[in-house]
Symmetry: C2
Subunit: 118 residues, 2 copies
C-alpha cells in the first residue's frame, strides 16, 4: 500500500470523524509511520484486516473532502496568506522609517499566526 | 421551534453532510425562512415530520462541530484577520508616501478576499 501525498492531510482534517479503532490504526500508519505488519501485531489483527480498515477509512475521508473541501480551501488560503506576508515583508524591507518598518513586521507576525492556526 | 444564533452557521458549514432530503428541508427553513407548516405543505409531509428532521439534522451538525470545530476556527480567524486589516488601514491612513499608502491598501483588499473566502 502506497502512501500518497495528501493522505496525511486527509487524516489531519477528517481523522476526528473516524471511529476510535480506525483513528488508532491511522495514527500508527500516518503519524508513527508503522508498517501494516507492525500495526497488525500491536492491534492483534491480521495484516489484511489493517489493510481493509485503512482502505475504508481513506475512502470515507475522501468523501468528506468531496463534500466539505476543507483541504482545498486550506491550501488556497495558505497560498494567499503567504503571498500577502511576502508583499508586506517586501514593503518593510525597503522602508526607511524604523517605526513603520517595525509596525509592518508586527503585522507579518500576526499573519503568520493566522496561517499556523488555519 | 426557535432559531438560535449560530444554527445558520451549522447549516452553512455542515449542510453538505446531510442527506438530500434533510438538506432540502433545512434550506427551506434557514435560507428561505419558511415556517414548519409551509415546509410540511411543499414537501407533503406532516409538520411533526418536518420538526423531527430539523431536530435530528441539528443534532448531527452539532456533533460534527464538536468533532471538527470548523465554526469555532472560522470565527477566531475572522477576528484575527479583521484586526490585521484594521492595523494596516490605520498605517495606510497616516502614511504620507502615496505609493506606500496605495500598496498598503492593496494588501488590505487582499486580506478582505481571504476573509470572504474563509
Amino acid at each position: 500500500m502506497e502512501k500518497k501525498v495528501g493522505e496525511q492531510y486527509l487524516f489531519d482534517f477528517y481523522g476526528e470523524l473516524l471511529t476510535q479503532k480506525q483513528k488508532q490504526i491511522l495514527e500508527y500508519y500516518y503519524d508513527d509511520d508503522y508498517s501494516l505488519a507492525e500495526i497488525a501485531e500491536v492491534m492483534s489483527v491480521t495484516r489484511q484486516g489493517i489493510f481493509d480498515v485503512i482502505k475504508r477509512s481513506k475512502a470515507m475521508m475522501q468523501v468528506y473532502e468531496e463534500k466539505l473541501g476543507l483541504i482545498n480551501k486550506f491550501l488556497k488560503s495558505q497560498i494567499l496568506l503567504e503571498k500577502i506576508q511576502k508583499d508586506l515583508s517586501g514593503l518593510a524591507d525597503r522602508e526607511r522609517d524604523d517605526t513603520l518598518k517595525s509596525e509592518l513586521m508586527v503585522v507579518v507576525e500576526k499573519l503568520k499566526k493566522v496561517s499556523e492556526e488555519n
